[in-house]
């Protein structure tokens, strides 16, 4: 029965395809294989979500070993949703990759690129699906190591230093996580998350468990680029190849946020995280600072990819804020923004990928007059930008609505004001780009630039239109997010 092994297939398909890509050696076949594998993974993710919606939590024992001794893959609504996001983004980004990779990466290295990409996908899917705390570390490192490689493939030499910086910070973060898991193991003797959740309350009031909590949250915070641990992100996103930026921006930080959710709500439980530790007292101010400071920094960027990267830091602040509110509505806001932001940033970075391939630069000054020269690409950017601002009938609006509602429910209207203020900062940085692209005439003697090819436009527009669709019909996103939040807050379900 294949249906029985879906959770394993989710990870195994891209994992097996990765070495096969190396064997193929030619960019075309390697791309085709990667795309096929990614689409298959997407299919599996859809089936998993359907299965979870119908049957409730799925538990898969890897190799037939009973948990808590063996590794358990545990799929509930929260991670089924995250799996879907990651797999969907990858399935859209890969068709785009063909042209983009050909333009940005030397042909003889292209097959290695696809192989690394698949490994990264494997790691991200693995993090999301596993129910074992140590297994999370392993997958975290698989995805991290491959993403260091992917980032370093950028054309600019600064990609190398960005990747190195990320490597240092990422390794420290992962090691922190490892320490946290070790401390928990020392106190409870188990690594299975559900099992941990049951055993932790007995020892919750010890310094070791408190230290473990701190190590885990900081470690994951680095990977999630939660303010102020985000320093690696702007350069990494800025200098990485366009495809990598789009993929990582839409998925990597999201998966880390998911792990944070798991740690807070499933492993430690809301009672410990919010009442004993008062996690929110630290995280809410940091999240608000992220929203305001990173958005302000974004305004002053002249490289559009870097501008969007700072915007990502701010948007991660929204998610952390939602989670830190600790209420069902707050967590719903966090989860739904996970999904929505993946589509927004995925679409925007793909649009920038089109620009980079056709124009050879994403510097703001080079984009003058681009509204006329690449009308479809820039129209996509404008719609994505509006979604980022949170204009109604886009996904960004939905996220903002739920988040503001969550703050008002707790009577914290001041946070609501800051959330909306940060949207206005988004308006400023998005419109800086729009004005240059549409109203500044192209410089004299600028090279002729034509519209991006359809193979790149279609994936871009797919994500952009998803922004509009899920901005109007929210039954899937918001419905699943709310149920996922209820599951998480209901303890270790």
């Amino acid at each position: 029965m294949i249906a029985e092994h879906l959770p394993a297939l989710q990870v195994v398909i891209p994992l097996l395809a990765a070495p096969l890509c190396v064997l193929l050696r030619r960019p075309g076949p390697a791309w085709a294989l990667a795309t096929a594998a990614s689409w298959a993974a997407f299919g599996v993710a859809v089936l998993l979500l359907i299965a979870v919606l119908e049957q409730g939590v799925l538990s898969y024992h890897l190799g037939g070993w009973e948990p808590p001794w063996g590794i358990e893959y545990r799929v509930d609504l929260a991670n089924a949703f995250v799996l879907l996001i990651v797999a969907a983004i990858s399935a859209v980004v890969l068709p785009f990759a063909r042209r983009s990779v050909a333009a940005e990466i030397p042909e003889e290295k292209a097959y290695l690129f696809y192989s690394m990409y698949l490994l990264c996908l494997t790691g991200l899917l693995g993090i999301a699906i596993t129910g074992d705390a140590f297994n999370v570390f392993v997958f975290l490192e698989i995805s991290s190591l491959s993403s260091y490689v992917l980032i370093s493939l950028g054309k600019d030499r600064r990609a190398l230093t960005a990747a190195f910086q990320y490597l240092i910070m990422g390794t420290i973060g992962a090691t922190f996580y490892l320490i946290g898991v070790g401390l928990l193991y020392a106190m409870t003797g188990t690594l299975n998350m559900a099992d941990l959740a049951q055993r932790l309350p007995a020892v919750a009031d010890t310094r070791t468990v408190h230290a473990a909590f701190a190590f885990l949250v900081i470690g994951i915070g680095v990977k999630a680029a939660a303010f102020p641990l985000h320093l690696w992100l702007p350069n990494a996103y800025c200098y990485a190849p366009s495809v990598v930026t789009a993929f990582l921006a839409a998925t990597a930080t999201k998966v880390s946020i998911y792990v944070l959710l798991r740690i807070l709500f499933t492993v430690f439980g809301p009672v410990f995280s919010f009442e004993a530790i008062e996690f929110d007292l630290v995280m809410i101010p940091l999240a608000l600072a992220a929203m305001l400071l990173a958005s302000t920094t974004a305004i002053f960027q002249n490289n559009v990819k870097r501008l969007l990267a700072y915007s990502s830091v701010a948007q991660i602040g929204y998610m952390v804020l939602g989670i830190s509110l600790g209420s069902v509505t707050g967590v719903t806001a966090g989860i739904v923004h996970l999904f929505n932001h993946a589509m927004i940033k995925g679409g925007l970075f793909l649009a920038m990928g089109c620009v980079f391939v056709m124009l050879g630069s994403v510097q703001l000054r080079d984009m003058a007059g681009l509204g006329r020269r690449m009308p479809w690409t820039m129209a996509a950017f404008v719609i994505g930008g509006l979604s980022l601002i949170g204009v109604p009938a886009t996904t960004g609006f939905i996220s903002k609505w739920v988040l503001v509602q969550a703050t008002l429910e707790r009577g914290q209207w001041f946070f609501a004001v800051l959330i909306l203020a940060s949207s206005l900062l988004a308006l400023v940085y998005v419109w800086r780009v729009v004005e240059v692209a549409y109203f500044r005439p192209a410089p004299e003697g600028a090279a002729e630039v034509s519209e991006a090819p359809l193979a790149m436009l279609i994936p871009t527009w797919l994500l952009i239109l998803a922004n509009v669709y899920f901005g109007v019909d929210t039954s899937l996103t918001l419905g699943v997010a709310r149920r996922a939040a209820e599951t998480l807050l209901g303890g270790a379900a």
Partner: protein
């Protein structure tokens, strides 16, 4: 056609017209024909709804559920009916005018112009027929965004700067304040439906209601209450048809319309009066009326002068809403229609003068009445209607607003209305008087008629006659608007 179909068709028709207009870009004649047909069909569809609404019906249609418990709903009520009829009728007139103006002016990017215009009208229809605050907000924002390309149409530095303050103020207020107020209302009451008598009663303390009302009022930047009025004079860089229909009718009226909707259907005028939530905002509106009129006096650029006049007139409607009694709300609602006809006439004339004589400054317009007698007569009619003199429609709305101030016992505000009318005389009437009676400036003596192209003349003749018509037949308007106030 059932009324329900007509309800959703109203926003859908211009939306469907937009791509057709874009497709017809190769042939200007075909393109303008598509615009005109779309506008005419829209008007007919909107008219279909009138009997139903006059009979007290409120046809509604729900499209889908956007957020749990919050739907995308259209529902036609009297106020929205008035707004929709006015806007869709004037779109036809403006389209005719645009043909003369845009060609006479040799504007670039005319296709983009017509497409955005249709999209803006679609948004305006959505605002008019919105059945709850969320739907209204969506179309409110869509209206801002679809008019942005029209404001920056010329693409000059000045236009871009104007676009910046346009978008900046309108989006900043709506996202920063109005959205907050909406979500707050939603958390308080669990509904955002427009309900006769309001939904907030019993859910908010008077102090909270006052704060919430202020958030709404300043959040609705399109109502151009001072100090959030700067975008409107800035938007005057747009081609004149845009200033005429959008920045004298659709956009600004969408703003005051929203104010009225919020006051009447979210707060309920009884609750407003009881909680005293709108008390101090009444004086803000009154101050806006006076200050904007004074500023208008000093403007030499005709369109800017008219823009400040609009700011002042919009606050009449806001004042009507904040008076928190039935007569004030009805007077405000009537003023939406009355001011629309008067002001659009004035803008049409301003554009016609620009096309025919290339004059934009008031000081250059001495003696032009001899060259453009029809234009200046229409201008005179528009001015008189704005001032509120018989036999023009503007009289009636001011009449009911005045009665509203008396009912509220605010005699000072009645005085404000009077003074403002005098100020209107001072900044509007000298223009036609000098045009007719002053000697022409040197170099302006060019003899003979030099009217604007025929479509322009046709357009402002229709709207000027409309002002006259509304004086004699205001009764249906009054009757339909009385339906929105309970009891």
């Amino acid at each position: 056609m059932s009324p329900e179909t007509a309800v959703w068709l109203a926003p859908a028709i211009p939306l469907a017209g937009a791509p057709l207009i874009a497709l017809a870009r190769r042939s200007p004649n075909l393109r303008e024909a598509v615009t005109l047909i779309t506008a005419a069909v829209l008007f007919l569809v909107v008219l279909q709804l009138v009997p139903e609404v006059m009979a007290g019906g409120r046809p509604a249609v729900t499209l889908l559920e956007m957020l749990p418990g919050l739907t995308l709903t259209f529902e036609v009520e009297p106020l929205g009916m008035v707004f929709a009829v006015v806007a869709s009728f004037l779109w036809i007139v403006t389209s005719i005018y645009s043909i003369g103006y845009m060609r006479g002016h040799h504007e670039k990017n005319q296709t983009r112009f017509y497409v955005c215009f249709a999209l803006a009208l679609s948004s305006a229809m959505g605002v008019a027929f919105a059945g709850n605050m969320l739907t209204l907000f969506i179309f409110y924002e869509a209206l801002t965004l679809t008019t942005y390309p029209l404001v920056t149409h010329s693409g000059t530095k000045e236009a871009v700067a104007a676009g910046r303050s346009y978008l900046g103020i309108l989006l900043a207020t709506s996202i920063g304040l109005q959205l907050l107020a909406i979500v707050w209302t939603w958390t308080l009451t669990g509904t955002l439906d427009f309900t006769t008598g309001g939904i907030l009663q019993g859910h908010a303390s008077p102090a909270m209601a006052a704060l919430l009302y202020a958030l709404f009022l300043f959040g609705i930047g399109k109502a151009a209450i001072m100090p959030l009025h700067r975008w409107l004079p800035a938007a005057m860089v747009a081609p004149t048809p845009v200033s005429a229909l959008l920045h004298a009718v659709a956009v600004v009226k969408a703003g005051v319309f929203t104010v009225l909707k919020v006051s009447v259907y979210l707060f309920g005028i009884d609750f407003l009066a009881e909680a005293g939530a709108s008390q101090w905002l009444m004086y803000v509106a009154a101050a806006t009326i006076l200050i904007a009129s004074l500023v208008a006096l000093k403007q030499d650029n005709l369109k800017r002068r008219l823009a400040y006049s609009t700011i002042s007139q919009l606050s009449y409607i806001v004042l009507g809403a904040t008076l928190a009694n039935g007569l004030g709300a009805i007077g405000g609602g009537m003023h939406i229609a009355m001011h629309a006809f008067g002001k659009i006439t004035l803008f049409f004339c301003a554009g016609a003068i620009d096309v025919a004589l290339h004059k934009k400054q008031v000081s250059e317009m001495r003696g032009i009445g001899r060259a453009m007698p029809v234009t200046m007569t229409a201008f005179l009619i528009g001015s008189l209607s704005i001032i509120g003199l018989p036999p023009f429609g503007g009289l009636w709305s001011k009449w009911y607003l005045g009665l509203g101030t008396l009912e509220a016992g605010e005699y000072a505000l009645l005085a404000v209305l009077m003074i403002s009318s005098l100020l209107n005389v001072a900044y509007l009437l000298p223009i036609p008087i000098r045009a007719f009676f002053s000697p022409a400036e040197k170099g302006n003596e060019a003899s003979g008629l030099k009217e604007a192209p025929l479509p322009c003349v046709l357009a402002f003749s229709v709207t000027a006659l409309g002002c006259l018509f509304l004086f004699f037949f205001p009764e249906p308007l009054f009757r339909v608007l009385s339906l929105m106030v309970p009891g």
